[in-house]
Point group: C2
Chain length 151, copies 2
């Protein structure tokens, strides 16, 4: 049996390693509060405002979904030094997130490599997928995270 | 002289068309409030917590920067039907956003095409870049937005 202590260092990460978060429910109030501050478009602010849009009703801002996914990642991917990325290769929103949807995130390590310039750290490429309570993918992005080597 | 009424329809969008937003200042309180809810890592929660991190101090969550950019886009890119995207090709965070940084966003239309399956709409590919008050790029992403044709 292999035991690994937390937090995880570069040596602990292997392609295929997966992490799964808890579930996080979004209320109507959560969706509207985020939208009022960061994405005040009618289809993110009320059911009525969304009725004649592509969404056919109230839908969470895609950036709200992404922020919730980040919250779940901070709780479920215990990498030493935290989750710091320089960017995303690609981000897809597959379908709307509705009031009372409950999201969880699965993370899969795709590849791991040492840094050429900084011998004390490396880079892990990871795919993150957020699912709703029906296990339908709602969001996916691929990121590369800086990971320190172990002591 | 060409005049264009707002909102803009597919026919109004041409490659090279640019939009610039107002500026949006981020306070320490804003940065910490977003982080507490969506990205509670030490370097997003306090100056002390960031001191020994890659950020060397307090930095806004990259998702907060993206949310602020979205807010500025809703105000500066007046497309009919609103800004609804299916995803991003790429997103890059170039450098940290610090307390009292003031951000603005420039949008450039890269290409425009009609939808093959839906004759009443098309797709506009756009590059969005957020800059700080020193005109340094802090965030960039390329998105494709659904745009209705004019009446």
């Amino acid at each position: 049996m292999t035991t690994t202590t937390i937090p995880l260092f570069l040596e602990d990460l292997k392609p295929g390693l997966k992490f799964t978060s808890r579930s996080y429910a979004l209320s109507t109030e959560d969706i509207v509060a985020f939208a009022e501050q960061y994405d005040p478009q009618p289809f993110h602010l009320s059911e009525e405002g969304g009725r004649n849009s592509l969404f056919k009703g109230l839908a969470a801002s895609g950036w709200h979904t992404a922020a919730v996914a980040m919250r779940l990642l901070t709780e479920s991917v215990p990498i030493a030094g935290g989750l710091i990325g320089a960017g995303l290769e690609k981000l897809s929103w597959f379908q709307p997130v509705r009031p009372n949807d409950s999201l969880y995130v699965e993370t899969e390590v795709l590849s791991v490599r040492e840094s050429k310039s900084k011998p004390y750290q490396g880079l892990a490429r990871m795919k993150q997928t957020a699912y709703n309570q029906r296990h339908e993918a709602v969001l996916e992005f691929t990121s590369t995270i800086v990971v320190p080597k172990g002591p």
